[in-house]
């Protein structure tokens, strides 16, 4: 038997696809709120470039990264931001899509998943999160 302890339990909305959690993104004092999906299959935290632009980030000035998707590739740019998820704060390099038509916001491994302990009981729409 293995036991884990989590500081946060969140009931997510099963009326929308994916495991959705509310996030705050902060960059140089500007903050924006939106929803993001927990995605253990994503290597990075990836966000719509619109959020970066809203916060005053010059997207293409960041660390360029080419990523593989299920049937294609895409480019994203990394910037140091602060991400708050359910009262947990993370300083990380978040990536913003180069393509403006990509709107999916995902919380992936680097920068986020690696810093937490995560539990999911999907039958009850419950996600458990604790700082690692």
């Amino acid at each position: 038997m293995h036991n884990l302890e989590f500081g946060i339990r969140h009931k997510y909305d099963d009326s929308v696809p994916g495991i959705t959690v509310p996030v705050h993104l902060e960059y140089q004092g500007s903050r924006v709120q939106f929803d993001a999906k927990i995605d253990t299959g994503a290597e990075l935290c990836l966000f719509d470039r619109g959020y970066g632009e809203a916060l005053g980030i010059e997207i293409e000035s960041g660390y360029r990264k080419e990523l593989r998707t299920i049937n294609s590739t895409l480019v994203a740019y990394g910037h140091e931001v602060t991400l708050s998820i359910l009262d947990l704060n993370f300083d990380l390099m978040a990536f913003f899509y180069e393509a403006p038509e990509i709107h999916r916001n995902v919380l992936g491994r680097q920068g986020w998943l690696v810093k937490v302990r995560l539990g999911v009981v999907d039958y009850e729409q419950l996600v458990y999160i604790g700082s690692y």
């Binding site: 929308v16 696809p17 994916g18 903050r31 709120q33 929803d35 299959g41 719509d48």
Partner: protein
């Protein structure tokens, strides 16, 4: 049961809203705070009622937030709450506390015991915003929107413009979303 309610701005913004209850700012026994951020509180005395259709009691349990200075009236006389929310005879209390969108007035019914009613929609989970997006997807598809609860703050084609408009309205960290046309489709994964 302590009926605690944080009111929905949209409910108060409706033309039918009647501001009939006067709130006398005075010290009173503290009610359980759902968030532990209480900064100011007082009791409410019912004023003479002109018209106040009551709402079903189960609706008292639904949490929503009021923006101070917007739909709830707060001045030197007191705080005025629409009687459409609590009915005619409720004894109300209020508390002003810091919230995600600025100062918020939380109004609650003092009847009964001390056990707080749990919110069906916990704070900060963007449920109201998602409800708005779901209801308005057809009319705002392809646009960026900024929301405060289920209230539209700004809409447009560019996220920075929408964000800045919401900030100009005094919202320090607005909820912003792109209204996709195909959000209801299941995602295949990466």
């Amino acid at each position: 049961m302590n009926h605690q309610s944080v009111l929905n701005p949209l409910m108060l913004g409706s033309p039918a809203a009647q501001f009939l209850m006067s709130v006398q700012a005075s010290e009173t026994a503290s009610a359980p705070s759902p968030r532990g951020l209480g900064t100011e509180q007082g009791s409410i005395q019912s004023a003479p009622i002109k018209w106040a259709p009551s709402i079903p009691e189960e609706q008292y349990c639904v949490l929503a937030y009021l923006q101070k200075g917007e739909h709830i009236v707060s001045n030197s006389t007191g705080v005025f709450v629409p009687a459409t929310i609590f009915g005619q005879t409720s004894r109300l209390a209020y508390r002003i506390e810091a919230g995600d969108y600025g100062p918020q007035v939380i109004v609650f019914d003092e009847r009964g015991g001390a056990r707080p009613v749990q919110s069906a929609k916990p704070k900060g989970n963007h449920q109201l915003e998602r409800d708005w997006l779901s209801a308005h997807r057809s009319t705002h598809a392809g646009m960026w929107v900024a929301l405060s609860g289920n209230r539209l703050l700004a809409a447009g084609c560019k996220a920075p413009d929408v964000y800045n408009k919401a900030r100009e309205l005094g919202i320090p960290a607005p909820f912003v979303a792109f209204v996709g046309r195909d959000e209801e489709l299941p995602f295949a994964g990466w």
